[in-house]
Amino acid sequence: MTTFLLQWLNPPWLAYALAALVHCGLLLALVVGSVAVCNWAERKIAGRVQDRLGPARVGGRFGWLQSPADGLKLLCKEDLIPADADSLLFRFAPYISLGASFAAFVAIPLSNDWVAQRLDAAAFFVLAVAGLEVFGVILGGYASGSKWSLFGAMREAAQVVSYEVPLGLCVLVPVMVAGTMNLVKIGNMQEGWFTNWLIFHDPFTFITFWVYLTCAVASVNRAPFDLAEAESELVAGFLTEYSGFRWSAFFMAEYGSMLAVSFLAAILFFGGWNGPVPIARWFGLMQENGPLAGYLGNLLGLANMLAKGSLGIVVMMWIRWTLPRLRIDQVLTTCLKYCIPLAAATFVGAMAWTFVARGGLNAGNDDATTRPGVATGGVQGEVAMTKSQ
């Protein structure tokens, strides 16, 4: 992009700046756009689950203008700050949540080459940033100054912090099977038929996916774990005092992290941008057969990723509108007594499986490059791979 712009614009820094802006714009557009679609989808799915239509009047028969209408309404709302609120922190909290939740998309690859920042420890980065989003919620809860929002914030903190542990363990299993934390490599590794997907790699990763789904729903604070804004007990938890754009910032953060978690699940377990059937290979949409083919391949990859991400979001919404809410102690016991042991067990199982699959103890002396791009066990493999780059 920058080389292309350099031919036209004569002050080079303008070209660099413009290129950076275009990249950021594309990424943010995807995320904010998907948040708007999520808002509309949530109402439609809720309607369908409850045997009613959902929005059908705003903008045509399917109410697709509902999200912009909501956005406009929220923008026009009065900007209220409670009297005994800590105004600096109160104003600042939603943007921390928003920032943390959108920062995850820096490391998430949307297709083979379309990734904002090719981080080597991408999976770990997404986990770290996902943990940050709760900071905005806690700050919002505390700064609102009312007992109810403090209650909601404390519950949220306890829940998200405790669910980071099993979430980390669940992400560890596919990373260990793939041998690298670089999401692009993990995605490419699952190329080909859907049997290559990591979820079908061995029974342990299959179980890990389901534990991952539970922990993801819990760490993103969606029903049945949405204790923070449990409307029946805490009115609206930490969101009680928020209205207007700040409220919608919190909701964009929630939908953003829902999308991030779904993309992560897609890449780690469902082969990311590789479709169930290797069409890209059949039609030769590879990077090496020219830029246009590469571009089309990436586009197909993006379509796959969006399909899988939206599937994840639809499942989360579907769960929300059918299940009641758990109590705070039940949420924490599911984490401590069910998710963590299960995740640990599958981790050990997956480790044993990959250890045996790689020929057990004598894995060291076979050729290091049995599978391209995948670091094999044993020191020599590592060394060879690092030197060869």
């Binding site: 922190l89 770990f124 403090l150």
Partner: protein, 209 residues
Amino acid sequence: MNPINWHSCFFLLAAAVACAAALGVVASKNVVRMAVFLLHALGAVAGLFFLAGADFVGAMQLMIYVGGTLVLIAFGVMLTARRPFLSMDTKLAQWIAGTLVGGCLLAVLLRSALSVDDWAGPVSAAPRAQAEDLATAAPLGMGMLGVRVDRLDEPEAARREGMSGYLLPFEIISVHLLVVLIGAAYLARSTRPGEARLRENVEDKINAG
């Protein structure tokens, strides 16, 4: 006009944020604001790590320091920040002593930083590019297993010599920390004898009351 050196530009930005937040921690009165500024300082340092290409360490900083401090804030500061503890007004004497000690430490750091020769001149943007692929987490893992990561291209013997790997001490420390954590949790737990007894405690007090 050589192309803008984005790297140092962002470096200065992150460093500025870190210093400003650190000053914020010292200067602010409200305990919770102090903690929030601390978080921003640590976040900016994580930004510096990412700029230096150490993604793993950057993510680790984000998760451990910022996440850990986050929990500290949520449960340590916010729950206890009742009226008496909320504002910490430092007196003038403490200010003077603080700036004195801080100044000396700053001077020592600056002197030692400037003494390193290749840090003195402006950093060129060049080395950034090819460091791209080396910045994987693999050397960290190998270092733990005892491989001399800095002498990778020498013969087999040189790679192993003088390093027994620090995986074992690493594990011992982590188990040690786990034991400490459980002990602390055990000591802090209330001797509340479980809900059942609590209930009849409340009962007979109320009936008697």
